[in-house]
């Protein structure tokens, strides 16, 4: 503990020192004033944001697209301008003392993924072409068009990412471990969102209707984000309260179509699915507010598979002064669904096994409360501090039984972080900070009762330097130091995770990057101490689990070019990861279905990923395609890692026709070569196929057709009605068709 206190005191001393020195360094200031417009239509863009690169100074354009940055120290800067649905743009600008610099910034509409700004790679705002790692963003427009209501549905379209039902897998880092112990860090506005007991991501807990963008960082992210970020991180950025009052509504309704095979038809009528979301946002003076709520219901594509979800979001922002702002976020999500996992057999794939308690319900509640405070000590030194809790609670209930609660677990994950950014000069910048996490079980009969009340504490400090030795080149060097202690188990000691990165923008069209980083994951409380029944399995505790470790390497690059007279972009990456002590669920034998999490695997994952996008002549057809080829090897068994696809191929076509747009998403995922042998427990457990999914949608812009502020979307998911499974013995969603209405006032 003394070690952690020492780190805290050192950070504070550095912060105070830099505050004094750097505050004195800037005294002569000027003003930047400008207008932001659409490059094609010249319409002004209200709500667009302007930031001075590598600094905290920024502004939001008013309803007339005008912004003002005051108190900017004299000097040369790069302005980074972003707006939802537009390409980010960087502009060089010079500020004179006691003078106003006027600028007009035009942004290109962005239908395809091109330039963007990200905050997750270096824990600060950066243009995507400046970061040394592979990063993909999913914007609000894509989420809206695809009718996304859950985070996992959004991730299924991200290059190199696939879902094994509730488990996210970035470039082969994760297989299937019953949802326990995510190897991908999940964050909501930078706040960690893995549960305190199972360390798993709750994909229905995120307010997808109010998401501005999702950032997916691939490769070891532990150097800045700590445990759980072994394979990468996913940061969900929510929308900020708008300058002017804004009401948004989305409603959708539809049905699953009848299965092609008679054996799988389990009801006469078509199962319904639908829902609605609404939000209101406004800024009054220094206070901004965003409130939202939603409800979704599905009767499911399988019998006794219906579910209902509720969610609510409140976000308050307060500009306490020109240098201090506060953001408070409260998010709540609840789900009530039936509770069976594995089919009766492939012949009866839409039915639960005989003997299943069909009345049993799985109820879960997820609450997030987080406060972040940003303070600018000076233009070159600023701080972000955040603290909050992610509370999760689930139980399985049979309503008709007297003693009706079967399994229950409630846990809180408390997190606090203080992060500082110091700009030494135009070539050198430091980001450093400290974090503390407390995972505490509130109530959990599934935890081995002999252990008593369990807590897991993780304390860490990190530092990262960014150095620009040449124009366009950024070298990143840093490390994170974690210490983990779970109840009466021995402390982990200091876990050091260094990282190195270099990005080089050779020209406006060409960027090269390389990175290396170490990662780790501390086993979760559930992996160490859970003793429960899950579907047909019994999970046994294993307190002796060790931390998972990894080293990841990547080289890659981006190239923009002209083809058919239009802009095209290609991004390629070669990656290599070495994993030690991977924790996997182990079945002692097929006839004895007891699961125990063990450090079972040493693994190596090598691969290549290429993503391409562009337009055919006259912007008649937009094309996005990416292919990820992976060689995931279990070095102990000398075979392909279980539950990994070796090829992922995702593509999207966009066909604009006047006020209409036709889009098609196609996803291919090769068949899992290796899975667990569960044929003795689950009938046809070995049934699996490659995945071919086609989603088609037609979007009508009613503003162009009838002058209404409305989008109508006809969405056909799994249009080919292709039958597949993401996990053993569970049919993935069959074809479903919905009509969606999006309105904004």
């Amino acid at each position: 503990m003394k070690y952690y206190l020492l780190i805290g005191r050192t950070s504070l001393a550095i912060a105070l020192f830099l505050t004094i020195v750097l505050s004195a360094a800037f005294a002569q200031t000027g003003i930047i004033k400008g207008t932001i417009k659409d490059a094609e239509t010249a319409e002004t863009l209200a709500g667009a944001t302007v930031k001075i690169e590598a600094r905290q100074t920024g502004a939001v354009a008013n309803p007339h697209g005008v912004f003002v940055l005051r108190g900017v120290p004299a000097g040369a800067y790069t302005l980074l301008t972003t707006s939802i649905g537009y390409e980010a743009r960087k502009i060089a600008i010079s500020v004179q003392s006691n003078d106003t610099t006027f600028v007009t910034i035009t942004l290109k509409s962005q239908l395809l993924k091109t330039n963007d700004v990200v905050v997750s790679a270096g824990k600060r705002v950066q243009a995507v072409q400046d970061v040394p790692v592979s990063i993909t963003t999913v914007g609000q427009r894509e989420l809206q068009q695809r009718g996304i209501t859950r985070l996992d549905d959004a991730l299924r379209y991200v290059p190199g990412v696939n879902m094994n039902r509730d488990q996210v897998n970035i470039r082969g880092s994760s297989g299937f471990s019953l949802g326990f112990g995510s190897r991908v860090g999940v964050f909501l506005d930078g706040f960690p969102l893995l549960s305190g007991d199972g360390g798993d991501a709750k994909f229905d807990a995120l307010p997808m209707f109010n998401v501005e963008r999702i950032e997916v960082v691939k490769g070891a992210g532990s150097a800045l984000y700590g445990t759980g970020a072994l394979g990468g991180i996913i940061n969900v950025i929510t929308a900020q309260p708008t300058e002017t009052p804004e009401f948004r509504f989305r409603g959708f309704a539809g049905a699953f179509t009848k299965p092609r095979y008679e054996e799988w038809r389990w009801r006469e009528t078509l199962p319904f699915l639908g829902g609605a979301d609404a939000s209101y946002s406004q800024k009054i003076g220094d206070v901004g507010v965003l409130i939202a709520g939603g409800y979704k219901r599905s009767e499911g594509h399988q019998a006794y598979y219906e579910n209902a979800q509720w969610n609510g979001l409140a976000k308050l922002s307060y500009e306490a002064s020109q240098n201090t702002s506060l953001n408070f976020l409260f998010n709540y999500a609840a789900e009530d669904r039936s509770n069976w996992v594995y089919w009766k057999s492939l012949s009866a794939a839409t039915l639960p096994p005989d003997g299943t308690n069909r009345e049993e319900r799985f109820k879960s509640y997820k609450t997030t409360a987080a406060l972040d405070v940003r303070h600018i000590f000076s233009d070159g030194f600023f701080m972000t501090a955040r603290a909050g809790v992610f509370a999760t609670d689930f139980k399985t209930v049979t309503p008709t039984q007297a003693n009706n609660t079967n399994i229950t677990s409630a846990a809180n994950s408390w997190n606090g972080e203080a992060q500082f950014t110091s700009i030494v000069d135009s070539t050198l910048l430091f980001t450093y900070g400290a974090t503390a996490t407390l995972n505490a079980i509130v109530e959990s009969p599934i935890i081995d009762p002999s252990v008593g009340k369990i807590t897991q504490r993780i304390v860490a400090a990190y530092v990262q330097g960014e150095y620009k030795p040449l124009a366009g080149m950024t070298i990143t060097l840093g490390s994170r130091f974690d210490g983990e202690k779970t109840s009466n188990l021995a402390s982990s000691g200091v876990i050091v995770n260094p990282k190195f990165g270099i990005s080089y923008q050779l020209s406006e069209e060409t960027q090269l990057r390389a990175s290396a980083g170490a990662g780790f994951r501390a086993p979760t409380i559930a992996e160490r101490f859970a003793a429960l029944r899950y579907a047909s399995f019994t999970v046994q505790p294993n307190p002796t689990l060790r931390n998972e470790r990894s080293w990841s390497f990547e080289i890659g690059g981006k190239q923009a070019f002209k083809l058919f007279g239009e802009d095209w972009n290609v991004d390629g990456a070669l990656f290599w990861s070495e994993y030690d002590d991977l924790v996997e669920p182990r079945l002692p034998s097929p006839s004895n279905p007891q699961i125990q999490f063990v450090n079972i695997t040493r693994a190596r994952i090598q691969g290549v990923e290429v993503a391409l996008n562009g337009w055919l002549p006259g912007k008649t057809l937009g094309i996005e395609t990416s292919i990820t080829a992976i060689n995931p090897r279990d070095l102990n068994l000398d075979q392909v890692l279980k539950y990994r696809s070796t090829v992922l191929w995702y593509s999207r076509l966009i066909l604009p026709i006047g006020a209409f747009q036709i889009q098609a998403d196609y996803r291919f995922q090769s068949r899992f070569e290796q899975i667990d042998d569960l044929t003795a427990i689950i009938t046809n457990a070995d049934a699996r196929v490659p995945i071919h999914i086609l989603d088609v949608r037609v979007i009508a812009n009613m503003a162009q057709i009838a002058g209404l502020p409305m989008l109508l979307t006809l969405n056909v998911r799994n249009a080919l009605d292709y039958y597949y499974n993401e996990i053993i013995g569970n049919l993935a969603p069959t074809r479903h068709i919905t009509l969606q209405v999006d309105m904004k006032f």
């Binding site: 492939l346 055919l616 098609a664 049934a687 071919h692 039958y723 597949y724």
Partner: protein, 178 residues
Amino acid sequence: MLNQRLFAYCCALLLSFTAFSSCDEGLKPPPPPTTISGTITYVGGRAGWTTKDSVISLRVAAFVKFPPADIILEVLSGKAFYTPQGLTIDSTLAKYVDSSSYRIVIPNPVPARVEYIAVVMLISTDPTKIALPSSWRVLGIYSMNGNNKQPAALDLKPETDHRVNLIVDFKNLPPQPF
């Protein structure tokens, strides 16, 4: 502009065709098994049964070759099929009833025909003799025109259920082949 649009449509179609030409059919229910099933009717109902203790167990069996040289060998080589599963004394169809149903699953590869289908009764209580033909007595057979002296062959179609109803008359048993 029209040419550009036509080019775009052609590209979209070509890309779609390329993507979907590699699609297989995905998961699908396994084909139904090849079965022989039906009802066994006992002439005279329960009263028509022979004395209680003499029926140890009751089965329906189908043989590709008739008469079988060795029952065990025929079973192991996939040339004899029976229900219920398990060669133990306890495995039996319903006894002392008016009628009962049965279903024999024929595993792949499905033979083109079975020469002999019979309701058979175990008459020995010695488990070691269960595989001996002499331990079994034929009670009823699949026959032409209800003539239980003339067994009939049944042509099998894969993934098809073949309905074969059998009649047992304890007072008029068919010829004993074993």
